[in-house]
């Protein structure tokens, strides 16, 4: 019988509590939600999966240039559809540009350019959950907002909406092939 390989547990420690709770309550639901017919959880044994919360609703985020090339989040407003999410970038000269979620992802990924700055700032707020898949349990960075008022408003509207409408997904740490590999040391080749 195929035996699941042991996984590195260090990374999973943050999720142990979640997983134990889930094992007792929601195992069946999660199994169905990932659409596979064989068991992925071994609740009695070592945790083998991580459970993530991902957003199901979108955001319109406005970032504003407070100093040269420095942007802070002005507002975040919830909207029903993720695909309708937008980032509005206000520059000091008064210009406004609007970007879709896909455009924002591309811009945020280009760390070499100053053009990515507004997007990276936006990513530190709730928009980060949409744009870069940031872990929702990690919270947002209050320093990314123009002031405390903006941060509090965002948290109580967009943040609250988002947290209450998430769905769970499993990310299964592969571990596949760990019997054959040995962490980078020279092993048998598969070359033909």
């Amino acid at each position: 019988m195929y035996a699941r390989p042991r996984l590195q547990t260090l990374r999973l420690q943050a999720y142990l509590v979640n997983l134990n709770q889930l094992c007792t309550m929601q195992t069946k639901h999660l199994l169905l939600s990932i659409g596979l017919s064989f068991g992925l959880f071994s609740c009695g044994g070592e945790p083998e999966t991580e459970v993530w919360q991902v957003p199901t609703e979108g955001l319109i985020t406005t970032v504003t240039e407070v100093e040269n090339d420095e942007y802070r989040i002005l507002s975040e407003d919830p909207i029903p559809q993720i695909e309708d999410s937008r980032i509005i970038v206000e520059n000091m000269e008064g210009t406004r540009d609007t970007f879709t979620l896909d455009e924002a992802k591309l811009m945020a990924a280009d760390s070499t350019s100053t053009r990515s700055r507004p997007f990276r700032s936006a990513g530190m707020g709730f928009f980060g959950y949409l744009m870069i898949g940031r872990m929702m349990s990690g919270g947002v960075n209050s320093g990314a907002y123009v002031n405390n008022g903006a941060y509090n408003r965002a948290t109580s509207t967009a943040g609250s909406r988002m947290s209450n409408s998430t769905r769970s997904v499993t990310r299964t740490k592969s571990g596949f092939g760990s019997k054959t590999s040995s962490g980078g040391k020279s092993t048998r080749s598969f070359g033909g």
């Binding site: 195929y2 699941r4 390989p5 990374r11 939600s33 990932i34 659409g35 596979l36 064989f38 991580e50 896909d102 992802k105 591309l106 990924a109 870069i132 898949g133 940031r134 872990m135 990690g138 997904v169 499993t170 990310r171 299964t172 740490k173 592969s174 571990g175 596949f176 092939g177 760990s178 054959t180 590999s181 040995s182 962490g183 980078g184 040391k185 020279s186 092993t187 048998r188 080749s189 598969f190 070359g191 033909g192």
Partner: protein, 400 residues
Amino acid sequence: MDNRLTDARPLKDRWFSKKGLSYYATGENHDYLADEILSLSPAEAKAAMAAGDEAYTLLRSCARSSAFDDARLDKLGVPDFARPLVQWSVENEWDNFLLGRFDFAGGVDGLPLKLIEFNADTASLLPETAIIQPEMVSMAGLKPAPNDLLKTLEHTARRLGGGRKDTAIAAVHLGSEDDQLNLAVLADVAREARWGRVDNLLLPDLDINPDEGIFHEAKADRWIHYGTMVKFFPWDFAALEEPELWAYLAEIIMAGKLRVFNPAWTMLLQSKALLALAWEDNPGHPLLLPTTFDPADLPRPLDGYVRKPVFGRMGENIEMVMNGRLVIAKTDGDYGDGPVVYQELAAFPEDREKHRYQLSTYVAPTACALCCRRQDELIIDDDGEFVPLALLKEKVSSWF
């Protein structure tokens, strides 16, 4: 044969280390690169290239006609649960084959070219052929044998494209240095073809989410999403040893969330049973060796045959039999338990020191480069030497 061999000056350690290829010249590999270069005549080189194209057409066609035939899939060794992905792949990824290497017997000194097997899934010898061979041949002042490996791979990679712009490419292996060096050649090709960011990843470190795709946590909280995977482990490894891996990949691939090179239908090409089916479909084809599922079905079993596992590598678990029962050569390995085929013994070119030479042709997917290994044993395995190939100049070839 012996008049085709020229002494080869070994390349300097510094050259290897600058290229990151010291692995091929040091430690237990210190005598891996032969100290001789084999020169092919232009006619021989042309024939070997043509054989690559012909063999690819033949096997690809046989794969297509076997993919929806359960009896054939049984013989090919494809488990039931793996068939949906293989079939989906035939229907949706038919033109996604990137690279394979045919190994031939014969091809020199008037011996007919005969297909031994197709390394369809993890075709190795890439750094040796693409980087080391041209350098050794050039240092010897000889004309290189056909070698458009990198150019053809890049051309194909550009045609295939890098996938979704917001995803990266995962180059996945299981840790072996040789595998990583081969994969690095493919990774470089992907970069040259502007596929995007390519990351070298150990398979156990990949996060596979059957709903969303494959990811890796590059930094704390920073997950990279991969839309394309180039791998250096074969599909049969997943199907036979890690079936859950196969299931996860199948789910993601069929949902259009991941492309893998080579695509899943390559498993059909990789199975040596395909050679037996190709022989059934094309009996007497000049490029094919008689290959069957029962030695009694070979046309001339007493002349000698080789018994080999349908999924095996590096010459492991091979048995060479003469006169119907005498085992004249045998290798051990990890592939001893699965289905087998029987292939007629072929004639390999030999030199006076009894080295047997095996020519190979890369297809990407058109024939693009030749390489060669030799061994002074009956079975060419992990201990073989890599022999750089050169081309005889036209005016000299008339002397032989």
